[in-house]
Symmetry: C2
Subunit: 339 residues, 2 copies
DNA sequence: CTGAAAGCGCTTACAG
DNA sequence: CTGAAAGCGCTTACAG
């Protein structure tokens, strides 16, 4: 049987004061007489009272909770972004996370409903539908502060403040680097077509290829996972293989390296592989993976600050997107091409 | 300016009914007249009403939220465990996550306070203090249902139901496998001394070494990270190196492989490396990492079921621990030893 | 410095 | 099938 938690009423009775005073001891101890405060605190300890947070939040109309939405938690990149977020929010807000990847019947809608009033702000680290759609409505209807981080905007999210790198420019620079190395036949492994991040990277790749007068049509679509990379590599490396493969993220690049190794292809001797993200394991891959680094922690920090802004100034529009610097990290998986 | 959300009162007025009826339309539509229901629903749409979840939860005394506590989100293993949890909880509960790694001043206590009444159950995927301590108090004082998963119990958590593998047995089997391969000098890279998981694994290693009449004292302590593994390897590989290194998790094993490669040591020719967890990147490491697999998704599924049990039967003790099967996964990072 | 009272938005017996 | 009323546990002006 669930023990009934003591309430403010019980504390008040035992201490011989009114509930107002107990409440004051909790929230404005300076406005309470010293002896009264002592007595009340003693009772609070005795009965092991802690205020019903649900009642408090309801009464106050706020929860001090910030929700961070990620597609799936198992990513080192996200972990850093979240670290950045918490470094600015911890203490002032409790940061909770929820996954948007579907796992059962109707998860997303369900969470969104709960989110409605139980959260003071949202940082979306995944702009993929369908999770985002309802959240936008909340933003409009209730003025729920929302900031997008890491992933650029989908159309429906375009009106919200956001923090990310210039994925188009980054991918096109990285492609130019590969071309400069002498690679003329380069394949690009992109992500799902509805993903705006990888779409930007894909376009950056194609633009750089076009600029160099090369054929930028060798684009393959995979699911951003290691296995996706393996499958893509098996497709690409059959027939007349390119001399370099540029992947829209590191997981796929690691998959490509693994598939290439299995086929006895030397990296970078026979095949150069370039990733994107500079996630945790890129540097210790064998060979170490060249990639494009995102300032993950910074993204988290800036996103959190934007959210704080949005919360403190609900009237301001503040919808500009903030672009942080990427960085090409050249390690050992890329080398000179045949050209 | 924050728009005032419409409440049940406004809907009632516009629809010309009482608030009881509006509430009924929301919660027991079958008990409402057909025409009334239509009218109310129309108004709800018009004013874009959605019930204040905070008020509902407060009133009902429950939130339908389950909290999963992880040390840090960036782990593929945890991702699978969470996938398992959600596969049983989604639909019935909203699953939210929070990190226990400290990032700012006083994060843990803060969250715990919020957690107090805003969550219906907790799955702890990290038994490390200090987060867990206060949660235990909640469990005792308020009968908050808690289940431990993945990591074995610390002393303070020993009374709670838990789901994990037999880390001692798994590590000792794995060590025996290494010994059977002809390795006599084996180093073990353990985790922080306060971690019960790695302590069990460490003891398993030592027991197996002792059983074989070998010296099991080559134990190094690192922080379970890739860098920790690199540093440990640099220590271990100086002087008279062992022929095999067994690491308490895959991250450190990957670090060891990377450090060994940098030193020009062939794996497994000159050094065998064995990991633990079979996380996402173990299979595609170069060479693919031998390791001990944990049934991560199963652990999540079972933990969630135990939690459901605990919620549905608050009176039952249900404190047994549930042991799931581990599996030795032999890939290419381990080979014959000199013996 | 302290207490009585109102009220946050909802749900749920209780009458009708 | 519907409404009036009580109440969930707290906070906060308002008096005193």
């Amino acid at each position: 049987m669930r023990l009934a938690s003591p309430t403010i009423v019980e504390v008040a009775q035992r201490a011989g004061v009114s509930i107002s005073t107990v409440s004051r001891c909790l929230n404005h101890p300076d406005k309470v007489g010293k002896k009264t405060l002592q007595r009340v605190r003693k009772v609070i300890d005795e009965v092991n009272f802690s205020p019903n947070a649900l009642a408090q939040s309801f009464r106050r109309g706020k929860t001090n909770i910030i929700l961070v939405v990620v597609h799936e938690i198992g990513s080192g990149l996200l972990s850093e972004v979240v670290g950045g977020i918490r470094s600015v929010l911890d203490g002032r807000y409790a940061v909770i996370l929820t996954e948007s990847r579907p796992d059962a019947a109707q998860p997303a809608n369900f969470i969104e409903m709960l989110v409605a009033k139980q959260v003071e702000g949202v940082i979306l680290l995944c702009s993929v539908p369908p999770f985002s759609r309802k959240i936008i409505e909340l933003n409009k209807a209730r003025n729920l502060p929302i900031v997008i981080g890491l992933e650029p905007l989908s159309d429906e999210l375009r009106k919200l403040p956001s923090v990310h790198i210039d994925n188009f420019a980054a991918a096109s620079e990285a492609t130019a680097y590969l071309i400069g190395l002498g690679h003329h036949r380069i394949a690009f492994v992109s992500g799902p077509r509805q993903s705006y991040v990888t779409l930007d990277r894909e376009r950056g790749f194609m633009a750089a290829m076009a600029d160099a007068g090369l054929d930028g049509s060798h684009v393959h679509y995979a699911d951003l996972s290691v296995n996706g990379g393996i499958n893509a590599a098996n497709d690409i490396l059959t027939g007349a293989p390119p001399s370099a493969i540029f992947c829209a993220n590191d997981d796929m690049a690691l998959g490509v390296m693994s598939a290439a190794a299995r086929r006895g292809l030397a990296i970078p001797g026979a095949l150069s592989v370039l990733g994107f993200d500079d996630m945790r394991y890129a540097a210790i891959a064998n060979p170490p993976l060249s990639t494009v680094a995102q300032p993950a922690r910074e993204i988290g920090i800036h996103a959190a600050r934007r959210l704080l802004d949005a919360i403190d100034n609900p009237d301001e529009p503040g919808r500009q997107t903030e672009i942080l610097q990427h960085r090409l990290v050249i390690r050992s998986s890329t080398g000179r091409g045949p050209g």
